[in-house]
Assembly symmetry: C2
Homo-oligomer: 353 residues x 2
DNA sequence: CTGTTAGCGCCTTCAG
DNA sequence: CTGAAGGCGCTAACAG
């Protein structure tokens, strides 16, 4: 290789000089504008750019143009398949539109979400996609709203995935409706004594799904008393621990619903470790339909959320101008998938006294 | 909220004016330099910045300073838990060092990897981490090398995860050694008639693991003939299909080794669909020890690769200057984990004829 | 310690 | 269709 001038790439001016044209002409030829350039010159310029391996400096372009081409995606934990699936959808759409995505993984810290949004504001990012559930704590919600406002004031767009709480374009996941549908299906299959691994108290997604379960069971006339709710982290280990607690209480339970698949998998492990045969001794259901978990045995009954599609849809908001000035809302609902983990039970006929 | 001047954020000059100081002083006070600013003025400046919700324009800083703070991470598929775990490690380290990470998901297209590297060069990214296996095709490898050279010439650093093929700092995964160790363990457990779900022919990671299996079995005196290798995509469905083919050939097989966990999970599903009882009828082993798959039943024997650590280590190369001018290499090895999917077998005593 | 003044690389009127 | 010139927001000598 020819020893190129170290540590810096060719500049537009160098290209222009090599091609024997002015800076402006080179700019027009290389980095589109609505102006045209004569064929002869353009060829010369393109050739010069090729020779010098010229790539426009996107940062400088952004400074001159006043806006950048980066979109930020903020998730809670990129290693969690829920978020990595959403991320995959976002990446697909971004690729199609030629935009760059910068990733933030907050590890479930609301403060980090805010910090990351500020970092994105420094980058003058054109949009930020906030995936992952809001937290109920009003103080942090207010902080978030403040940073969101600043980000928007700086010319950026904010898109939320989950709940419509901060007044921005939102993909609303119909968690409660999905939970309700699942509960009703389980009752239809003959289950009468449910318990729930309810996740963290402060997490709205978890709360909504729980409320959905409660709705569904109530409507079907099945009791789900508060002592049958087991709170804990929204993770595999959280599910394991919650299940251990549940088992230790020796409640009369015929099915356990996790508020997500990952927790439910932890619960399955706990059941096995305690000698419970699945699904004979106990039925289990999750929420999300995580792809990596579809080959579990017994296969998990769950509520399928179209995660990749959700990511793509969120991104579409970035590239679709909002005609009205009101935030847009798109609702996405889940679909109950009955699998082996919740076989039909002989229904105990309860005779009213 | 006060209606801020629409669509743009405060500028350093505005902060300086509000504080009644010069541009340079404001710059020094807000965006560290080695120079100091008097306490009185600094307080005034900080206050002005707070009032205006000032965030420095990182793009402009990058242009002025000549280098940016973004690091690119290129993976094959962010939805694949293998890559999302590596990404999690990268994100952790990046967070600690205050750098931004932009993500590229190539969907296993070598061309997209090159395109993404070019995009990163436009951003004047300080480094690019190329996770995921190289492909054996020499033409695309040459293209990649060319873009890597251009990226480095532009002042960026390239780090590869997997194989040391393009002459850059590399985290080398000891896939072959891991495969060899797994094969030997299986023989020690009594397995004598292996088959392999070998993944794509062109993928070096898959090939190395396969070679490791072959080494290990050969050393232990167990034959693994070519008709016992089943190629196909590196995915869950690829594993399923390969397993179906294997079953249809009615070979005499006592254990099947996938070249990664995800494929092996597909194989487990295929076994169940064909009425094979696991692990009694057949033993199965994978590679990677994907966290989300640790609760499968039967639990999968595999080679644990420390994926998050790998991501963090790759990132450490970004922030650790290289003293010598030779590319650095750090080897990471896997650890065989024996679980239920490969129980010890009564060893058939073969009497040499 | 503070202010003045060139740039950084590029875009975009404004003249020709 | 082409070129000259000013400006984007910020940093970094260079003077006081």
């Amino acid at each position: 290789m020819t020893p190129s001038r170290s540590d810096r790439s060719a500049t537009l001016l160098e290209v222009a000089n090599l091609a024997g044209v002015s800076l402006a002409t080179a700019s027009r030829a290389l980095n589109g504008s609505n102006r045209r350039v004569g064929d002869v010159l353009r060829e010369r310029i393109l050739e010069a750019a090729r020779v010098l391996q010229y790539e426009p400096n996107a940062q400088a372009q952004a400074v001159a143009r006043g806006r950048s081409n980066v979109v930020g995606l903020v998730v809670q934990d990129i290693a969690d398949p829920y978020f990595s699936s959403i991320a995959a959808g976002v990446m697909n759409a971004a690729e199609r539109h030629g935009l760059l995505v910068t990733l933030g993984s907050t590890m479930r810290s609301a403060q980090r979400e805010i910090d990351y949004l500020a970092a994105l504001r420094r980058q003058r990012g054109r949009a930020a996609i906030l995936a992952g559930s809001r937290v109920v704590d009003p103080a942090t919600l207010a902080d978030l709203k403040r940073e969101v406002a600043a980000f928007e004031a700086s010319g950026g767009q904010v898109i939320a995935v989950s709940q419509n709480l901060i007044g921005v374009d939102t993909i609303v996941l119909q968690n409660r409706a999905g939970g309700r549908a699942l509960a009703r299906e389980l009752v239809a299959l003959g289950y009468q004594r449910p318990a729930v691994l309810a996740g963290p108290r402060g997490l709205i997604t978890a709360r909504d799904r729980l409320h959905g379960y409660q709705d569904g069971f109530a409507e079907a006339g099945v009791k789900l008393s508060p002592d049958r709710l087991f709170h804990g982290p929204f993770t595999r280990d959280g599910g394991y621990e919650a299940m251990v607690t549940l088992i230790s209480q020796k409640l009369d339970v015929d099915c356990v619903l996790g508020v997500n698949d990952v927790m439910t998998v932890g619960a399955m492990a706990a059941c096995r470790d305690h000698g419970l045969a699945l699904p004979d001794d106990l039925a289990l259901a999750g929420f999300d339909d995580i792809e990596t978990l579809r080959d579990l045995s017994p296969a998990l009954t769950t509520v399928r959320m179209p995660l990749e599609l959700i990511g793509e849809t969120a991104f579409e908001f970035v590239v679709t101008p909002n005609p009205r000035d009101k935030p847009r809302v798109r609702r996405v609902s889940g679909e109950v998938i009955i699998r082996e983990s919740t076989p039909a039970r002989a229904r105990s006929i309860l005779i009213p006294s």
